[in-house]
Structures are given as structure tokens and as C-alpha cells.
């Protein structure tokens, strides 16, 4: 297995820390002196650049929220002259004002570097053919992976998302070895492949690098089995850089964070207090090497935890667990915190259903939350009898109750009736007026 940058990725942890502190100090001083937004915020809590003497001092700095990024749109947080910018992206957010990410030449090099690292973590080499089915354009997913693939020297197929039949034909004709897209889209590809008679066993894919939405271990198994490849998780967000923030290596035990560029912390989302390694909470990043739009302590709303271990791959970078959900994706149903990925986990265990589902939350006359889980029936389990279908319903209901501790109404729906997404899957419809 190739390690793209063993100096950085396998560095002694103490040496890395020295470098991180150097970069953090430099960044804090720079944003304090050049960006009024940060100066005001630092002054409000009474922190000066000189107060940063160790990495632990980062906790003295105020957080940056997505709302603040929106409020300062477009160029309020730009840390360099506009003429230094060579590319911009905006967040894929579906609501409200977008969020800007601006890149200098050095930022572009760094971005290509970290995505190349991620491709290597999934076993990529310059001999690979990377079919990149993330969306291109303002969304960072497509181009970020694209740059990394170029950097690594792979044959890059910029398929972008959608046009699924063509994706499959490209895969077959150009013998793609690495597929990159959202996990839900990969399962949709499997479905279309079956319809048009393409067998993944006859294709050349060895790895899939999936990200941009939370998924579960069971979904991984399903993808690996249906697409006949090894599935790797990749994580990133536009505000920080795009894809390339962290990714899984062949150990499939957590995502290595490219922490020489993106310094992670886990905080208690309610109090803002920094939590010790191993505790679950909200992920926060500081982009210690970004030039264009660096961010201090950005609250990602993603829930995970961090740890160090002696990874068999040899990398020493801190690991984050695959996402457990987002603080704003979390549903509170009858007082119970639920992540859609938990529901997915249950459905993946039940062979009679497809992993396509939708959750509809409403508040009935009783003023209690009513949750309807719409699940597609796997066609081969459709029988002629209502009682066998009722049995499937009861099975789902019992498993959900056991796993999540709440009851949901289960509605079996026709195969393919739940809208497929070629990007992020929309799983939850909340009709409550909260």
C-alpha cells in the first residue's frame, strides 16, 4: 500500500504537534490582524494572539458557526487579497445564503495533496482509473476528488453524478478501478445495473470511496456485496476544504484526519467545553494552513469521536469514527434522540426490505410525535398473502422498538416508489411545527 506523504502522515506525534502549534499561532495572529470579524470576536472574549502558547490554548478561542459564515458572505472572511484567489466554491447547502470557500494557489496544492492521500488510503496508485461520480461545479465533492486523482496520477473520469446508465457503461468500457460517489448513489447504481443486466462481478472496481452523507457499517456491507468492491469512508466539508479532511485506510477502523492541515477537537455541543479523547461530541476544526478562507474552531454539527491508535497502516494521524449523525439531523422523537443511520442499521438487517426508506414525522391529534417509517418491500419477498406482508411489518416494528426504544408505524410501500437521490438522500420529512 502506498502512503502518499509518509513524512506528514507517519510523523512522530510530538513533532507534528510542534508544527501544528507553529501554524496555529501564525494563523491566529494573521486573522486577528487582518479580519475585523475575528478581531471583534477575540476582543469580546478577551483573547490575544499571544495567549496561544500550546495547542490546548486553542480552547480560549471563540467558535465560528455556519450562520456567521453566511452573515459574512461573500468576502467577509477572506484572509488574503482577492487577486490571490484562484478558485472559489460555495457550500452545497440547500437552504439560505451559501457559504464561501476561497482557495489560493497554495490552498489548491494543499487540497490536491490531502485528497491524493485519501485515494492512497483506499489503495489507490497511479495505475488506477478513478471514476468520479460526485457532483462537479460549486459543490466541492467533484473537483476535490478530481484534483487528488490528478495529483496521484490516476486516469480520471469526471463522470459527475447522475446519468446512471452512462456511469455503468463508462465503468465497463474504461475498466474503472475506483468509484467515488455518495453511498446512497452507489446503491442506486447497483439497482440500475441489475435492470440493464450489468454484473459488478464482471467490472474492474476494487475500491469505492464514499462520503458526503452519513452511512452505517451495515450499509457498507451491502455496498461491498452489491458492487463487489471494498468501501472506504471519506469525510470533508466545504467550509474546511471539501473532501480530503479525513478518510479510511485499509484497516477500516476509523478515518485518519489530515491533522497537519485541519486541527480537530470534540466539544460538548451544549456547553462548548472541549471533551477528552474518546468522548463523543461535536466535531470542530481549525484550518491551520488555509490561506484563502481559514476558519477558527468551526462547529461542523457532525457527531463523532477522536482517538489515537497504532494503526497497522503506519499512519500516526488522529482518527475519527465514521459520523454518527449531525446535531441538526438528530431527531428527537417523544424525547428520544434518534439518528437516521440507526434506522438504516435496522433495515439493513432485515432481508425482506430494501435499504430505501423515508421517515415522516407528524404530530397527530394526540399532540404526540407520530413517526411513520416507509419502507420498500424487496420484490422477491412479495407474496400473495397479506399475512406474510404483515409479518414483515411486525418484524421491522419489533426491531425498531428494540433498537431505538420507540414505536414507529411501519408502512410498506412499492419497490422504487421512494424518490432516489443522485446526491444526498433525503431521509426525513418532518411535518411537525416545532
Amino acid at each position: 500500500m502506498l502512503i502518499w506523504n509518509s513524512k506528514a502522515e507517519c510523523d512522530n506525534r510530538d513533532d507534528r504537534k510542534v508544527q501544528q502549534l507553529y501554524n496555529l499561532k501564525k494563523l491566529v495572529r494573521h486573522v486577528y490582524e487582518t479580519i475585523p470579524f475575528y478581531k471583534t470576536k477575540f476582543d469580546e472574549v478577551g483573547v490575544k494572539p499571544d495567549d496561544i502558547q500550546s495547542m490546548a490554548d486553542i480552547a480560549k478561542l471563540p467558535f465560528t458557526s455556519k450562520d456567521e459564515l453566511r452573515e459574512t458572505y461573500p468576502y467577509g472572511l477572506l484572509a488574503v487579497d482577492e487577486k490571490e484567489i484562484v478558485e472559489i466554491h460555495t457550500s452545497s447547502g440547500t437552504t439560505g445564503t451559501p457559504v464561501l470557500a476561497a482557495y489560493t494557489e497554495a490552498d489548491m496544492d494543499m487540497w490536491s495533496e490531502v485528497t491524493a492521500r485519501c485515494l492512497c488510503m483506499a489503495g489507490g496508485t497511479p495505475d488506477d482509473v478513478v471514476q468520479n461520480a460526485y457532483g462537479y461545479g460549486m459543490f466541492t465533492g467533484g473537483l476535490g476528488v478530481h484534483y487528488g486523482s490528478h495529483k496521484l496520477g490516476c486516469n480520471t473520469i469526471p463522470a459527475a453524478s447522475g446519468n446512471t446508465k452512462r456511469q455503468l457503461l463508462l465503468m465497463r468500457d474504461f475498466k474503472s478501478t475506483i468509484l467515488t460517489c455518495t453511498p446512497s448513489y452507489s446503491l442506486y447504481m447497483a439497482e440500475v445495473a441489475r435492470e440493464i443486466g450489468i454484473d459488478f462481478k464482471e467490472l474492474s472496481l476494487k475500491a469505492g470511496i464514499f462520503g458526503a452523507e452519513p452511512w452505517s457499517d451495515n450499509m457498507r456491507k451491502e455496498i461491498e456485496q452489491k458492487l463487489n468492491l471494498k468501501a472506504f469512508d471519506i469525510y470533508g466539508l466545504t467550509e474546511i476544504v471539501g473532501p480530503g479532511v479525513s478518510a479510511e485506510c485499509e484497516a477500516h477502523n476509523g478515518l485518519h484526519v489530515n491533522e497537519d492541515h485541519f486541527y480537530p477537537e470534540i466539544i460538548n455541543p451544549d456547553t462548548g467545553e472541549v471533551l477528552p479523547e474518546g468522548e463523543k461530541g461535536e466535531l470542530v476544526f481549525t484550518t491551520i494552513t488555509r490561506e484563502g478562507t481559514p476558519i477558527i474552531r468551526y462547529r461542523t454539527r457532525d457527531i463523532t469521536w477522536l482517538w489515537h491508535d497504532e494503526c497497522p497502516c503506519g499512519r500516526t494521524t488522529v482518527k475519527m469514527h465514521r459520523l454518527l449523525g449531525r446535531t441538526d439531523d438528530m431527531m428527537i422523537l417523544r424525547g428520544v434522540n434518534i439518528f437516521p443511520s440507526q434506522i438504516e442499521n435496522v433495515l439493513m438487517r432485515i432481508e425482506e426490505t430494501e435499504p430505501h426508506y423515508q421517515i415522516v414525522i407528524d404530530r397527530g391529534d394526540s399532540h404526540l410525535d407520530e413517526v411513520e417509517l416507509q419502507v420498500e418491500v424487496e420484490p422477491s419477498f412479495f407474496t400473495d398473502e397479506t399475512k406474510s406482508l404483515e409479518r414483515i411489518k411486525n418484524k421491522i416494528s419489533a426491531e425498531i422498538k428494540q433498537e431505538l426504544g420507540i414505536s414507529m408505524m411501519i408502512k410498506l410501500v412499492e419497490p422504487k416508489s421512494i424518490a432516489r437521490s443522485e446526491g444526498k438522500a433525503k431521509r426525513v420529512m418532518d411535518k411537525r411545527k416545532l
Binding site: 400473495d384 397479506t386 408502512k411 412499492e414 416508489s417
Partner: protein, 138 residues
């Protein structure tokens, strides 16, 4: 003889049944029987048509979830007590009936009742041994 019945999974929502009848009508399918077993949120439509294979193909083409189920069609005289005769024979011989329904066929004072039984071969044998007639096809 076994008769091929087409069963279709239908969500209970507006227009779903009309969608099926439209597909069948456009495919020029002659219906001989139609029945729905329903629950709160879904139904199973059971169809006997003159062209079962074509019916199945058409429905699948339109992305409906459908399958073939084998049933027995018993020809009975159109007179009081005729159904009861069959039921008695089935009861005596312990043929488990899962469901039954009548068809749209009334011909020469005879009707056809469709039976879905647990063990179809056994059910057919009982019908034959008791001097009754199971239809071969429509």
C-alpha cells in the same frame, strides 16, 4: 389443472388501482376475475385473465410488483348449495383453503369459483376424485 393468478402489491393511494386497470386495458387484457385483499396501508390485487403471462409481463414493465400464484378454478352448477358441496368435500379431506372468490363467468348455468389452497396438487386430486370439474384455463 392449475390456473395462473396474477397477484399485485398495491399501496393504498389514490389512483393506484386505476393505474393497473389502465395498463390492462391498454394491453387488451380480458379479465375473468378480480379481487382485492386489503389492509390499512396496502392491498393485494388478484387477477385472473385470459392471458396471464402477458398480464404479468405488462405489469412488471410498468414497475409494479407482481407475481404468479397458482389456484384452482372449480366449475359449479349455478344453484343453491353448489358451493357448499365443494366446501364439504374440502373439509372432509382437510384441504386448507387460504381464500376463495367468484369469477365473472356464468355460462350454461355454471359458475367458476377460484380457490387458493395450501397444497394445490392435493386440492386438485380431491376435486377430481369427487367427480367435480376443475377448469383448465379461461
Amino acid at each position: 389443472m392449475k390456473v395462473k393468478q396474477i397477484s399485485v402489491f398495491l399501496e393504498n393511494k389514490n389512483g393506484r388501482l386505476a393505474e393497473v386497470t389502465r395498463i390492462l386495458s391498454e394491453g387488451n387484457i380480458s379479465l375473468r376475475a378480480l379481487t382485492i385483499a386489503d389492509t390499512a396501508d396496502f392491498g393485494i390485487l388478484r387477477i385472473i385473465s385470459e392471458q396471464p403471462d402477458k398480464t404479468l409481463e405488462l405489469l412488471k414493465e410498468h414497475n409494479l410488483t407482481a407475481r404468479v400464484t397458482e389456484v384452482i378454478g372449480v366449475r359449479l352448477g349455478d344453484k343453491p348449495g353448489a358451493l357448499h358441496e365443494v366446501m364439504e368435500v374440502f373439509e372432509k379431506n382437510k384441504v386448507n383453503i387460504e381464500y376463495l372468490y367468484s369469477t365473472l363467468m356464468v355460462q350454461d348455468d355454471q359458475v367458476v369459483i377460484m380457490f387458493k389452497v395450501e397444497d394445490i396438487d392435493y386440492g386438485l386430486e380431491i376435486i377430481k376424485n369427487n367427480g367435480m370439474e376443475a377448469i383448465t384455463a379461461f
